[in-house]
Symmetry: C2
Subunit: 254 residues, 2 copies
């Protein structure tokens, strides 16, 4: 049995049972064949980690493929384990994440990393995230529209596009969709110290609160203003701006 | 007691007991005050993961600070737990990693992520890695020279520099130091299937072999040719090249 519909590989970092991925699956299944390969358990802030030190297990959860590893593991496994996909997917989608991935979050996010893992392997990819208490149903409808237009667009030559989409959660309706750049976001930087019942110290990283200044054209400001934000993410690892400094360090005396 | 020497925060992803970090500590202690805050256990391929789902513990191992978390956790904790550092460090250093971090490795590497965590928090940073069976002593001497010149250089305005340094391991002597861009590196992409003693399937990610084409100016080629490679890494998350495509997706019909 073959299908002429596009093939989408769908993952996330909240785990295979999360409402965000279930809603996105239902929305995308209307326009494409969608194969879910997602983490068995929550993998927030796991960034682009791969599991190399221990082996992985596969399970079916409600008919969806689940892997007891990271989001990047899931994309890797899906692409190289033949049973999962009938052919190379046309698009990798990740999300809908439970919580924003704005600003510096893109470095830490497992949701973004799943999409990036697809793009690094040559497949266009989109990460979707929504703020807390947002409507996944509303986000799913807009995500489907974005994916539909993306699948219909002529892709430029070169590296595959990697898009980061965030849905504002603080308004009843989105005001529209905006193309943005990544803004600056800061967290409560702190360590919370505690003691266990045996009197031994342990500590938690940071506070949950994030802050940003208003900056035109950024993802943070678009979402503040009630717009869905689409940011194209870079896959260029080299910084041109620091080449001269690096050159200074190549002194022959080394 | 105060010191006029530079202050370096040193971490890695192989763990606090690894030979690479111990060698680098000894080399850098000759030119700076060096505080080690490193993972308690190996954290290879943990990328930029932060530990948010469980709390962390601190231990002293041979007088060095060890945290039972990721490389990025270590930098975070060092900067926000006041006992660890007498003041804000002048430089974050990571390594020497046991194994190259070339090409696409920079996305997966915990060594690079520790340095990037420093740079994201405004502190210049360098990641050092050496190929398998390389001489850490030789690498330590060259690393000290690079750090010394770096500390003496006038840093450009804007984002702090983030440098990725690799030492070739297949020659008796380095031929010199070169500034490079990140090359393209591919791994044996495969899944290795096994069965446990109870007959249940498990699998490992990929093979260990990496390949690359010869490309002038890249980190992979410099190291092939016997040169120490220095690549400045980008901290710009937005891709200018796909802005037009993203714009197409912001259709008012969304």
């Amino acid at each position: 049995m073959t299908s002429s519909r596009p093939l989408i590989l769908l993952s996330n970092d909240d785990g295979v049972a999360a409402k965000g991925i279930r809603t996105l699956h239902a929305a995308l299944a209307a326009i494409a064949d969608v194969v879910v390969v997602a983490p068995l358990s929550e993998q927030s802030a796991k960034s682009h980690a791969l599991t190399l030190a221990h082996p992985l297990r596969h399970r079916l959860v409600d008919g969806f493929h689940a892997i007891d590893g990271t989001p990047a593991d899931c994309i890797y496994v899906a692409l190289y384990r033949e049973q999962f996909l009938p052919r190379r997917p046309d698009l990798v989608v990740s999300g809908i994440n439970h919580g924003y991935n704005l600003g510096v979050d893109v470095y830490y996010s497992g949701t973004v990393a799943a999409a990036r893992e697809g793009a690094l392997r040559g497949i266009p990819a989109i990460a979707f995230s929504s703020g807390p208490q947002g409507s996944f149903e509303a986000a799913g409808v807009v995500a489907r529209g974005i994916v539909e237009r993306f699948l219909g667009a002529a892709l430029p030559a070169g590296r595959p596009p990697l898009l980061n989409v965030n849905f504002p959660a603080h308004r009843a309706e989105y005001l529209g969709v905006r193309t943005t750049r990544i803004g600056r976001r800061r967290y409560d930087e702190s360590i919370v110290l505690r003691h266990d019942p045996r009197g031994n110290e342990y500590f938690w990283l940071g506070g949950p609160n994030a802050y940003h200044e208003r900056e035109d054209g950024t993802d943070t400001t678009a979402v503040d203003d009630g717009y869905v934000s689409i940011t194209p993410l870079s896959l260029e690892p080299t910084a041109g701006e620091h080449a001269e400094l690096a050159e200074l360090l190549t002194n022959e005396g080394a």
